[in-house]
Symmetry: C2
Subunit: 189 residues, 2 copies
């Protein structure tokens, strides 16, 4: 039954975008239906648990993407600096220069926070820890790497808020460019 799997996975990007744009509570089933081009029958066929299962499926996909694409390289790649540069580039493109919101961050601020609290926590902690690991392999002490990674994750999230608030994607780009100079070791080639 390849079609079942395909159809459910096909819906996830549209689903994610609805949650990103409207938040958990704001993403009504009628809106979800429009964006995914699926009726209620199909939606509840694929996601018997309703909205909560939809959001969890989206979060699963996001977790998977960040884990394999960013966190794992940050933890494991031999060239830590390259992994950090790749992380920044991926961050820029994933969030569309700040035009796209971080769903996890939006959930953290919104009214559905408690419902996904554990997942939200894990996502942020994983990002911070993976980045700190890369910084340590770059030669920093744990005691320097930890705070720097903490700053970086917060700066990225805040950059998304600020870029959206001021409707200025270039702000997010500038933020990431400056962050790169703080995260990479000075004047190596």
């Amino acid at each position: 039954m390849p079609r079942t799997v395909k159809a459910r996975a096909d819906v996830l990007p549209a689903l994610a975008e609805v949650f990103r744009e409207y938040g958990y509570e704001g993403a009504s089933l009628s809106l979800i239906g429009q964006r995914t081009e699926l009726g209620k029958g199909s939606l509840y066929h694929f996601f018997p648990g309703g909205k909560e299962e939809m959001a969890n499926a989206v979060l699963d996909e996001i977790d998977g993407w960040f884990e394999t694409r960013m966190f794992k390289p940050l933890r494991d790649e031999a060239d830590a600096s390259a992994a950090i540069r790749a992380m920044l580039a991926d961050t820029l493109s994933y969030f569309r220069s700040g035009r796209r919101v971080c769903l996890v961050g939006a959930l953290a601020l919104g009214d559905a926070r408690d419902r996904f609290a554990e997942r939200i926590n894990v996502y942020f902690a994983a990002w911070r820890d993976a980045l700190a690991s890369a910084l340590v392999r770059q030669g920093l002490d744990e005691s320097e790497a930890r705070p720097l990674a903490e700053d970086a994750v917060a700066l990225i999230q805040g950059g998304l808020v600020a870029a959206r608030a001021m409707d200025d994607p270039s702000l997010f780009e500038r933020l990431l460019a400056r962050l790169e100079t703080r995260l990479l070791p000075p004047a190596k080639s």
Copy 2:
């Protein structure tokens, strides 16, 4: 008719807290009624424009608080460093070490963004510009002050997101402490 004015103003703190906790759409009138201990009759008596007028009243109060308490001193106070230190201390206490969310930031990420887009934009821009002004008076070039102020505002917003996401108020405190060392001139007394 002093009582009218008093009653309306008395409701604003509770109103603000509801919007902060549940977002604009999530703050239902029944919830607002409970928290403010006002029935629908009273709420629509004080705010004939409904929820939107309530949110605008709250934003007015927030704007006023930040303007007089933080932005104006940052722009005008003779001792720029003292104003920056005061800003950081006020930020810490206002947001309750990250336990309290920034309503403006939450609105920026949420589904009611378009409704308050202009106000949100102005709030962020005012903070950045006021801080940049203080940095310039501290001796920085405009070209250094601008990016640093931009970073600071984003870091604060991101700190609120991250502190809430990881349920760790001390994270917000650490962030602000490190930010202070970046904003104040090194080793003066």
